[in-house]
Amino acid sequence: MTKYWISSETSVEINDAPDVNAVHFNVDDKNIMVSAGQTIYEALQRMPGIGEIPALCYNPAIRPYGACRLCTVEVSEDRGKSFRFVASCLYPAKEGQIVKTNTEKIRKLRKGIIELLLARCPDVRVIQELAKEYGVEKPRFSLGGHDCILCGLCVRACQEIIGKSAISLVNRGIYKEVAAPFYAYELGEECIGCGDCSYVCPTGAIIMGSNGKPVLPRVKIPYAEVGAMTSKEKLSTSQK
């Protein structure tokens, strides 16, 4: 008989018999039992208190994307002999696996990611709070003036839930941003003004404008990065 937690308060004692509809695994030294077909992050969402995983690009209504990397955990599938780092929002919960959500390496990784995000978006409250929680005081890097962390939730909500694809992520690397078709910043007919993008945005970077359409976050590129831009890119930035 083994004790398995099926929610944060309730545990059951069962024989270790295989059950096709359930997955039994270990999270931070606690055995848990969840229904099959979930990711690690989904499974732990329903068990507050077991495992501690922050995430910024996750929303239960939208397919996971794995961009913010804050939900990275250590997973072992060989009974703890070797661990690897995976994004828990994408990684399936599997029978018998061992998950560590709060090791020293993980905390260091999250702290590092938060430091990078805080440097990008120093004025965003949710990131400031995370920074406080993980002990990031002041980023060691130059500060940007963004509000958007490019988690893609707005784009995915517009595509998956609304089915309009009125906005998308364009460009790549540090020049990536959210924009309307043909790289426009003003939304036209394609947007129905439902406000979903603004609702799912974790940082409050998209607000609804007076015309009933969302106002997209403008990327403010910090000076140090402007130096590495081509003249054409500088021109397009200055025109924004």
Partner: protein, 626 residues
């Protein structure tokens, strides 16, 4: 020639016998009294003007009506790009280098007709000044093992009959007519072949998991999206011997049970695209692609898909996204591609070099293949040896050769008697390996131990004039520009790394920078979504590990020991050596140098932009760079 045989044939090949008969016909038709003249038509030689040489040969042959005497062909890359355009003559392979169009009449009159050697076109050994006549005697080729690249120099890639004459498609007929898929996979697994795209995963195991994966439709993919700066092995194989890749793909498709293949190739490789397209058309005409291949009942088609120019699309999941018509961004690969790949169907993706190895293994057997290489890495590997090296070009070496042998024996050492500093292996995300590890054998595991990797076959040699901080800055800037921007560590981390490295090379480094960069390195290593991000910090971390003193010189002393970082160097004139000739003053674009004729000149530091024109123009070494 093609047309003659086609008329003779007038039908698709229906069985192995017909393929062998065709091969015999082509070989019998060959007039052995004709002298073969092959001009390298690879991209390297084309850049040195090979097209004009080819045109001159055609013109001269036509003019003198020598078609019956000369068998002329424009082949794929011969490898010795440093000496291009390269012309190789006759069965004994007389090797002429740096051939110009005006040399062509002389080559035809003297060498082809009279059999005399033109000495000024021969390769001279840099150390002994000895003239070397034959290709096989060149030190560049002597230590190589050109199992795959060898055919490149023998055949015209746009003519399938030449590939067939060289034994081509015999592995295909053996595989699809006489071997079961299980036996093929077993043979590939036993050969120990590992993925040549950089991952180094066992090819046989990959094939096996794709064969057992559930699904009625499966795909075979060829990764020819080679975007590393300075690396071009995939390009040269696809340009010079596209049929070997196609043959490998057909065998792979038969082994896993697939009927559709895709070649994902960079649009920036126009010649590779064209040659692959011609090869697919010709193979289809001959019944080697399409329905009922060689009467086996097995169907297979190959389609070419051109990439849009993103480096990250060489990563398998981004490549698949791009093939599906989506933005080329990587996805998490927690479900293997061999189960859910292109359009969520089982897919088998291999690199160009891996595919080109397949016919060889099928023909000669796994036992033969395992004799080449080291315990963990079998066979040969193709590298593009470039940078500060005498014999730059494409080299194919057995696994396990040491870096020293590659640099000093094949590569002929560093030009100008300069001192070797480092070699970067594995493309932009590879590490820089210093002198003390030059005796390391080249194989997947050994390079990884040194903080570098095999990658897709790039090898860049650096000498004492290269600043390692500047090298790290260059590669991080490249990767920052190529990062797709999806995951936070890669997008933000690389941009901050680039910011710090740019600051250090501008003399604004801070004591804590090294630690900060190592912290970012750790975040990328475990946190990034795909291999681009996870390996991106190799150039920084390996240079910090092996060349820490250079970083300290930049950060603490504000000096660039190699004299590369402009903000950290100063030009001055040695009054003892300066003859007052005035050449430097004329070369200076900002008029920062002044002085009376025949008297020592001086540089006005306020006006100097540190372009180095004075340093380069002075014949008396009087300009000092510090």
């Amino acid at each position: 020639m093609v047309e003659q045989v086609r008329k003779l044939l007038d039908r698709k090949l229906k069985n192995a016998l017909q393929l062998e008969q065709l091969r015999q016909t082509i070989l019998n038709d060959k007039d052995s009294s004709r002298v073969t003249v092959s001009v390298c038509g690879g991209t390297g030689c084309r850049a040195s003007g090979a097209q004009a040489v080819v045109d001159a040969f055609y013109e001269e042959i036509e003019k003198q009506e020598l078609q019956v005497k000369i068998e002329f062909k424009e082949t794929g890359c011969h490898g010795f790009c440093e000496r291009g355009p390269v012309v190789v003559i006759g069965p004994e392979k007389i090797f002429y280098q740096h051939v110009k169009p005006e040399d062509v009449p002389e080559i035809i009159a003297q060498t082809v007709i009279n059999g005399e050697i033109i000495r000024r076109l021969l390769y001279k050994h840099p150390a002994t000044d000895e003239e070397i006549t034959y290709e096989s005697d060149l030190p560049f080729y002597k230590r190589q093992m050109r199992l795959i690249l060898g055919t490149n120099g023998e055949i015209d890639p746009t003519d399938i009959t030449q590939y067939i004459a060289a034994g081509g498609y015999s592995a295909l007929s053996k595989a699809v007519l006489r071997m079961s898929p299980e036996k093929i996979i077993n043979e590939i697994t036993r050969s120990g072949l590992r993925g040549r795209g950089g991952g180094g995963f066992s090819t046989g195991r990959k094939w096996q998991s794709c064969r057992v994966a559930e699904g009625d439709i499966k795909y075979v993919l060829c990764n020819a999206d080679e975007g590393d700066p300075g690396a071009y092995p995939d390009r040269s194989i696809l340009e010079g011997n596209p049929h070997s890749v196609i043959e490998g793909m057909i065998i792979g498709a038969y082994a896993i049970g697939s009927n559709q293949g895709y070649i994902y190739v960079r649009n920036e490789y126009p010649l590779a695209v064209e040659h692959a397209r011609i090869a697919i058309d010709q193979a289809t005409d001959y019944g080697l692609l399409g329905e009922n291949i060689l009467g086996s009942g097995f169907d297979f088609k190959v389609t070419i898909n051109k990439g849009g120019g993103a480096f990250v699309c060489g990563e398998s999941s981004a490549l698949i996204a791009s093939l599906e018509g989506k933005v080329g961004e990587p996805k998490a690969k927690y479900v293997h591609m061999s189960e859910k790949g292109l359009w969520d169907r089982p897919s088998l993706l291999n690199n160009v070099k891996t595919w080109a190895n397949i016919p060889l293994i099928i023909n000669k057997g796994a036992d033969w293949y395992t004799k080449i290489g080291t315990d963990g890495s079998k066979g040969t590997m193709i590298f593009s040896l470039v940078g500060k090296i005498n014999n730059s070009g494409l080299v194919e070496v057995p696994m396990g050769i040491t870096l020293r042998e590659m640099i000093y024996e094949i590569g002929g050492g560093i030009p100008g008697g300069k001192k070797f500093k480092a070699i970067q292996t594995g493309g932009p995300s590879g590490g820089c390996i210093p002198e003390q590890y030059l005796d390391t054998p080249v194989d997947f595991d050994e390079l990884k131990k040194l903080g570098s990797m095999m990658g897709s076959g790039g090898m860049i040699v650096m000498d004492e004039d290269n600043c390692m901080v500047d090298i790290a800055r260059y590669f991080i800037d490249f990767l920052k520009g190529e990062s797709c921007g999806k995951c936070t560590p890669c997008r933000e981390g690389l941009s901050k790394l680039s910011e710090i490295l740019n600051r250090i090379t501008h003399g604004e480094g801070r004591p804590e920078d090294l630690e900060t960069m190592q912290d970012i390195g750790e975040i990328l290593d475990i946190g990034a979504l795909c291999a681009l991000g996870r390996t991106a910090t190799n150039p920084v971390l390996s240079t910090i590990k092996y060349f820490k003193d250079e970083y300290i010189a930049h950060i603490r002393d504000k000096k660039c020991p190699a004299g590369v970082c402009r903000k950290l160097i100063e030009f001055s004139i040695d009054p003892e050596k300066c003859t007052g000739c005035g050449v430097c003053a004329r070369a200076c674009s900002t008029k920062a140098i002044s002085g009376v004729k025949r008297e020592p000149h001086v540089i006005n530091q306020g006006m100097c932009i540190k372009c180095g024109a004075c340093f380069d123009s002075c014949k008396f070494n009087a300009v000092i760079k510090r």
